[in-house]
């Protein structure tokens, strides 16, 4: 096979289907066929559900030692599958799991992972965000490959069904228990989650621009005036200024409110993926080039210590 292998992730169906859409985009650019693979039972949802947009062949990678995810196990399994199929491109969803093992897998082939790709262009070249989303970088693979790519959630929409049928082929890699050096425990929830930001209709979210924990009441006052939940970007929760359960972004909660007000948040990629579903985004930031303004519907460029109190007063007046 000199083609495109899309590796899906069971339990992460949406971004896995987006990886398939990215595979099709790469197919348009290269003329190469798309096949897919995933660890798991051939009847698993990740194989069945893409029947709306199927590749011709799907490999169900199966081994008792792959039942729990380990980087060692996955590297061994996919190294063998890639050596067998010899694809030119391998596309992954950019998830915590792929970030954990794919760089190691790529190294086995003398390659690097082009991670968190947001677009593909003729060549092909691959576009990713750099410098905290302030710029985009276009990358070109130089060697003969295989070329490893992971795609950002939401960058390749998977809502267009494509007709066809898929043949599922089993693939059993050879793995010895002694080759797996880590023992993973079962996933557990952090602190009991009492705040459900996912269903909040209005959110006022605060970032590094607030400078000190002592300044938080300023933002809390705006949230109260708007009848909004207060939330934050990662650094605020890392500092312990607000509890982790109020964190929005890839490592926190994903939100979809009617109104999302970002105060002093520059808009790093990890934050933006958590707020994509918001109907209206308002950004208040002193830096006119902050990436948050690329996704905002309304922006105020200015000092939040002046803008936020003014806005709180204006909201109160409007409601009075």
């Amino acid at each position: 096979m000199s083609g495109i292998l899309v590796v899906q992730e069971a339990g992460r169906n949406r971004i896995s289907f987006e990886a398939l859409a990215a595979g099709r985009r790469l197919s348009e650019l290269t003329g190469l066929p798309v096949e897919t693979a995933a660890v798991g039972d051939p009847n698993a949802a990740v194989f069945v559900e893409p029947s709306g947009q199927p590749p011709a062949v799907a490999y169900a990678v199966k081994h008792p030692l792959l039942e729990k995810y380990t980087s060692d196990g996955y590297v061994l399994a996919f190294e063998q599958l890639i050596r067998k199929l010899e694809p030119s491109y391998i596309v992954f969803p950019h998830t915590y799991q792929s970030r954990d093992y794919v760089p190691r897998l790529a190294t086995r082939f003398g390659q690097v992972l082009l991670s968190d790709i947001v677009a593909m262009e003729a060549g092909p070249t691959f576009v990713r965000q750099v410098f905290q989303g302030k710029m985009t970088g276009t990358y070109r693979p130089l060697s003969g490959g295989p070329c490893f790519v992971s795609i950002q959630a939401g960058a390749f929409p998977a809502d267009q069904p494509v007709a066809g049928t898929t043949t599922i082929l089993p693939f059993e890699p050879q793995i010895d228990a002694a080759q797996i050096r880590t023992t993973p425990g079962a996933p557990f929830r952090g602190s009991s989650q009492t705040v459900d930001l996912g269903s909040a209709q209005r959110i006022v979210s605060v970032g590094r621009g607030i400078k000190e924990a002592e300044n938080l009441p300023l933002v809390q006052a705006l949230a109260t005036a708007l009848g909004a939940e207060i939330a934050a970007s990662r650094p605020i929760c890392d500092n312990g200024w607000l509890p982790m359960e109020r964190q929005v972004g890839s490592s926190g909660q994903t939100v979809a409110p009617k109104l999302y007000v970002a105060v002093g948040i520059s808009g790093a990629i990890q934050h933006l993926v958590g707020i994509k579903g918001s109907q209206c985004i308002v950004a208040i930031n002193k830096d006119p080039d902050a990436p948050i303004f690329e996704v905002a519907d309304y922006g105020i460029v200015g000092d939040l210590f002046e803008v936020v109190p003014a806005l709180t007063a204006a909201v109160k007046a409007a409601k009075a």
Binding site: P103, T107, L113, M135, R181, R234
Partner: protein, 261 residues
């Protein structure tokens, strides 16, 4: 235990980065640089492990001469010594090329643990630690918030780490040492360098290794061909005026267009 922390110097978060004339990299001449944030957490975790179990913390960093300043900061916070891999072509090396430099510098030290941040704030490739593990032939775990050393802290030590998963989930992973861990931010509280620490740092050993001496392959397999400003995903209406005027204009929009007031 002997812990190596791989750190990176990156443009300061508030630096106004601009694309250079060739659109290949940023203008470096007029910006401030700082220690990459998740690397700062990796250093903190290493210092806390040393305080608990004894041993040595060594920082390693690749880059041009200016990196020396970030190395001194790490020494001032409490690292015992440092290795500076001197190279001026960091921007044209890919993640594998950089990891090869670090691996060549780290290997002769035979550390029990190698820690680094989960990703850099400039390129954000998020791979250096994982590639380093493969090049050193060591097991790894990523997105680690906490490390517990079990058994005696010698050669037979065994660690239990807390790994962050998506959407508020975590897991524990047990693994032998030596191992490579990439550290997520927020697992502990960062310390500041004390005045005494800053004084002492001046006396600590910084060994400089020239990249050319390490005998690693510099030929990249991918190149960063072009930098550009991002295309706007939405047409943002910037509300003009002073704070009061802008706030009033926004409230009008929220009331009559977005209808959330």
């Amino acid at each position: 235990m002997k812990i190596i922390v791989a750190i990176k110097q990156v443009p300061d978060r508030d630096a106004q980065v601009r694309i250079d004339a060739a659109a290949k990299w940023i203008e470096e001449s007029d910006i401030q640089f700082a220690l990459n944030e998740s690397d700062a957490y990796a250093l903190e975790e290493a210092l806390q492990l040393k305080e608990k179990h004894g041993g040595e913390v060594i920082v390693v960093s690749a880059g041009p001469e200016r990196v020396g300043q970030t190395i001194r900061e790490a020494l001032a916070k409490g690292a015992d010594r440092a290795i500076h891999v001197a190279c001026d072509d960091l921007g044209t090396r890919d993640a594998l090329g950089v990891a090869r430099l670090l691996a060549a510098a780290v290997k002769p030290e035979n550390p029990d643990l190698v820690l680094t941040g989960l990703q850099s704030e400039d390129l954000g490739l998020g791979q250096t630690g994982v590639i380093l593990a493969e090049l050193l032939g060591l097991p790894h775990a990523t997105l680690i918030l906490h490390i517990d050393v079990e058994g005696d802290a010698g050669s037979s030590a065994h660690i239990k780490v807390k790994r962050e998963l998506e959407e508020g989930w975590f897991q524990e992973i047990e693994m032998p040492t030596p191992a490579v861990l990439t550290i997520q931010s927020g697992g502990n509280k960062l310390r500041y360098a004390t005045l005494m620490g800053i004084k002492r740092a001046k006396l600590k050993e910084v060994r400089t290794l020239a990249a050319s001496e390490l005998g690693t392959d510099a030929a990249p397999v991918v190149i960063l061909e072009r930098l550009a400003l991002p295309q706007k995903q939405k047409s943002t209406q910037i509300l003009p005026g002073n704070a009061k005027e802008a706030a009033a204009a926004l409230v009008e929009k929220l009331k009559f267009e977005v209808r959330v007031l």
